[in-house]
């Protein structure tokens, strides 16, 4: 079992891991429940109560717990709705990246050292491709694809992030697969004549699941940042749909006069990234203490 009693005990003793889980849980809860408890519609301007002196939005307090934005909408409600989308995109992109990365990494690791028809090494081709892709700065690549898309939606963004974010996972799983394939039970399976596909699915995949989960958890944090960067640079989802990065983008010109416009999404992104990183680190320590 991946997360057995001993792993759970190790996880529970790790304050950082527990804090990470708590932060992630709190953000999820905020995103799910927030829009329902907010007093305002996240998409409707409130000119009666949201306008402060000189046409500036009102600050935190009163009817607007986190202040109002530039067109006088509730920042709290928008942050919660934005959380749904930001987390959904990050998690979806991570799942896609994990699937691609796991497939490439496991196949590459399992076929390492073997050549097809004595000419082509599947591992070599896959890993050189990974090397080339890793040579591109991740965010630059994502921005280029994002900018090339004439019309962006949540699907295009998570697909973009997913198909560009799997490289690290492939590397990690290749290394782990090379370890696993040399173990006795894999050798025994091969000796018994089991097919490569069956060996990979039944024996290799379950034994590399720990690093996969750890890598994926940390990758969620990277995806949150990448999604925020896309939105911040104006190649994310079109308004009025809020995402944390877009809220940051919209607030930057008002850093001095309305700091809550930047502080609210910035702190939320910080907490989300931190939370997922600590959670991933804690999972790594719990699932594979030898590597810690």
């Amino acid at each position: 079992m991946l997360f057995d009693a001993r792993a759970r005990a190790r996880f529970a003793k790790n304050r950082s891991a527990v804090a990470g889980a708590a932060i992630v849980g709190a953000l999820l809860a905020f995103s799910v429940v927030g829009p329902w408890v907010a007093r305002h519609d996240p998409f409707e301007s409130d000119f009666a109560h949201g306008v402060g002196p000189n046409g500036m939005p009102v600050g935190p307090g009163g009817g607007f717990p986190l202040g109002a934005d530039r067109i006088f909408r509730d920042v709290f409600a928008r942050l919660a709705v934005g959380g749904r989308l930001s987390l959904l995109i990050a998690v979806s992109a991570t799942l896609l990246a994990s699937a691609i990365g796991a497939a490439v990494g496991i196949v590459a690791g399992y076929t390492e050292g073997r050549r097809v028809a004595r000419v082509v090494s599947v591992d070599g081709v896959l890993m050189r491709f990974v090397d080339v892709m890793l040579a591109f700065p991740f965010l630059l690549l994502v921005m280029a694809i994002g900018a090339a898309l004439e019309h962006t939606s949540a699907i295009t963004i998570f697909t973009t992030l997913g198909v560009t974010g799997w490289l690290g996972i492939a590397r990690v799983l290749r290394a782990k697969t090379m370890q696993v394939r040399a173990l006795d039970y894999v050798l025994a399976s091969r000796a018994l004549g089991q097919s490569a596909g069956r060996i990979l699915l039944r024996h290799v995949l379950p034994n590399v699941a720990g690093p996969l989960v750890v890598s994926a958890t940390v990758l969620v944090a990277q995806m949150i940042v990448a999604d925020s960067v896309l939105s911040y640079l104006g190649v994310g989802i079109a308004p009025p749909t809020p995402t944390w990065g877009r809220m940051l983008f919209e607030g930057q010109d008002y850093l001095a006069a309305a700091p809550w416009l930047v502080a609210a999404p910035a702190v939320t992104i910080l907490l989300a990234v931190w939370g997922f990183n600590m959670l991933g680190e804690g999972l790594r320590d719990a699932l594979d203490p030898g590597d810690a």
């Binding site: 950082s16 000189n54 004439e150 010109d253 850093l255 700091p259 702190v267």
Partner: protein, 571 residues
């Protein structure tokens, strides 16, 4: 493999520090503004010659050749370098400049200009009528990238000249060393405005007869470009033209622009006294300065020269239905739009911005009336019930936009307003070049934000380009609504040749009423420039036409004035 350093023992501290830092950093910027830097002399002091006026922009000038492709940023320096036959006074009236006077003959078909004597150009030569003709021909050559060339199509012989069939423009006639006349195919009441545009302003002989973008700009304006004065993408420095024809002007030794400077950096340098004027403050910064009694007297507001509206493609559903367009025009709460930036926005309810002399504030135009908007939707055959949310136009309407603060905010407010009458906008975010291409292409965009900056202060600058059928093209159509109205075309044509100001005004009143009623645009707001200047900047007032005019500005800051003060420094 470690992704980040372990943080167990320090976690609470680090989290607390990060939170405090993130909230404290912006709050730290909330500290008070620096005090204005006082002028050296009293308010009634006479102008003092000397000093450099320093400005900045987040953009870069596109070019400095008056006949070349210039943009809003270029207009300031180009206006300082190139004087015209006529110009605008501080009230926006056309007045003689290089011309001593002019007369109009032949029922508006001939404009004859008599030049001032002894106008010295930046290269030391004297301005002659030949320079005027050569500069006009240079600007209108078919190979010259002059954005305004088509405005001059009414000059006799224009087609032959631009078609390569004639070496010279027959309609521009040199009648002597100091006299030049323009002969038009038909009367044109707007011709003086066209002469005031930059593109045909006299250039030095070094400009030659054909456009060449390696030419060092040289004209007869109050400032000249010294060698090396323009560092593309970085800065521009103009120095005083000592032989300028206006006695005693300009006062400044030089004007400097720094380009590609972000708004925040501009504000900080301005506060520190390293910039004398800022024109690109964010709304938030503007509000901060204007909330400070020390700074409030030094904010300068220009008249509305930029007009905005929602352009509806009249050839595409649902806006091929005039009732739907009327519904949109009535559903927009313009007062709320203008509250996004009350310092620089004013509600716009008609086709003419308030800066135009013919603006009639009593004309109702388009006004917010939700009940009327719902009635128009019913007449259009798409009734909408706000209580149940049922009805309205059955499909989303695509609204093409680019991602810029004000555009984005007003689009979202529009979306909220139109949802109340059953029109559901889907905002389509594209790059700015893509936005322009789609907006100006037939059948490519249902709705988008229209923006128009007057080329000259006359209603024809609005109606001809934005709503006349002559401005419709399959690509690059300035008439982005692709709106066609036979009566409006008649009015546009008639007003062009109408030399009687009263009759002309009446024609444009009718044009305004047609456009407001049929609503190819739902007008939303006008935007004016706001500039903030240090108290020691004198003589810099808002101009009704030019974005900035520093020809009479002077600097009254200790240590900047030259010894040769005019009038002894104090009055």
């Amino acid at each position: 493999m470690r992704w980040i350093p372990a943080t167990r023992d320090t976690l609470p501290l680090v989290l607390a520090a990060a939170g405090v830092a993130l909230f404290a950093a912006p709050l730290g910027c909330q500290t008070g503004l620096a005090a204005p830097i006082a002028a050296e002399h009293d308010e009634d002091a006479a102008p003092v010659r000397g000093g450099t006026l320093r400005l900045a922009s987040f953009g870069d000038v596109r070019g400095l050749d008056p006949a070349g492709p210039i943009d809003g940023l270029s207009m300031g320096p180009v206006h300082l370098m190139f004087a015209g036959l006529v110009d605008y006074d501080p009230q926006g009236h056309v007045v003689p400049d290089l011309a001593d006077h002019w007369d109009v003959a032949d029922d508006g078909r001939t404009y004859r200009f008599v030049l001032r004597h002894g106008v010295t150009m930046h290269d030391g030569s004297e301005l002659t009528a030949d320079d005027v003709k050569r500069s006009v021909e240079r600007a209108l050559q078919p190979t010259t990238p002059d954005l305004f060339a088509s405005y001059f199509a009414g000059i006799a012989g224009y087609a032959a000249f631009t078609g390569g069939k004639a070496e010279h423009l027959a309609g521009v006639v040199v009648e002597g060393r100091d006299v030049v006349s323009f002969h038009l195919d038909k009367p044109n009441a707007t011709f003086l405005f066209l002469v005031a545009l930059h593109s045909t302003r006299p250039t030095c002989k070094s400009a030659g007869s054909k456009y060449d973008d390696t030419w060092l700009p040289c004209g007869a304006g109050p400032f000249r470009l010294p060698p090396g004065g323009w560092q593309r993408g970085t800065s521009l420095r103009l120095v005083r033209h000592d032989a300028y024809f206006q006695p005693g002007l300009p006062y400044l030794d030089a004007v400097e622009w720094t380009y590609n400077m972000q708004a925040l950096a501009q504000r900080l340098r301005f506060e520190h006294g390293d910039l004398d004027v800022v024109r690109e403050l964010t709304h938030a910064e503007t509000a901060r300065f204007m909330a400070d009694a020390r700074w409030r007297p030094f904010g300068v507001v220009q008249a509305d020269v930029n007009m905005y509206g929602e352009s509806m493609n009249t050839r595409m559903p649902p806006f091929d239905n005039v009732e739907i367009r009327r519904a949109v025009a009535a559903a927009i709460d313009r007062g709320q739009f203008a509250r996004i930036q009350p310092m620089t926005m004013t509600p716009l309810t008609q086709a003419l911005p308030s800066s135009l002399p013919d603006y009639d504030p009593s004309f109702e135009g388009q006004r917010y009336d939700l009940e009327a908007a719902l009635e128009h939707m019913r007449k259009a055959g798409y009734p909408f019930d706000p209580a149940t949310g049922k009805g309205g136009w059955p499909e989303p309407v695509e609204y093409t936009m680019y991602d810029q603060g004000l555009v984005s905010y007003s689009a979202q407010l529009l979306q909220q307003d139109l949802a109340r009458i059953g029109l559901r906008l889907r905002l389509k975010l594209v790059s700015y070049p893509a936005f322009l291409a789609l907006q100006e292409r037939a059948g490519a965009s249902q709705m988008s934000q229209g923006n128009w900056m007057l080329d000259y202060p006359d209603p024809s600058s609005v109606f001809d380009e934005l709503f006349g059928s002559g401005a419709i093209k399959p690509e690059g159509s300035v008439n982005t609504a692709f709106y066609r109205n036979a009566r409006l075309d008649e009015i546009i044509e008639g007003a062009h040749g109408e030399m009687d100001a009263g009759k002309r005004r009446a024609l444009y009143r009718e044009a305004n009423a047609i456009v407001c009623d049929e609503a190819p645009w739902a007008f939303t707001y006008g935007v004016h420039f706001f500039q903030l200047q240090q108290p020691y900047v004198r003589g810099l007032v808002a101009h009704p036409v030019w974005p900035i005019d520093v020809s009479r500005a002077w600097v009254d800051r200790a240590g900047t004035a030259a010894a040769g003060a005019l009038g002894g420094g104090r009055r």
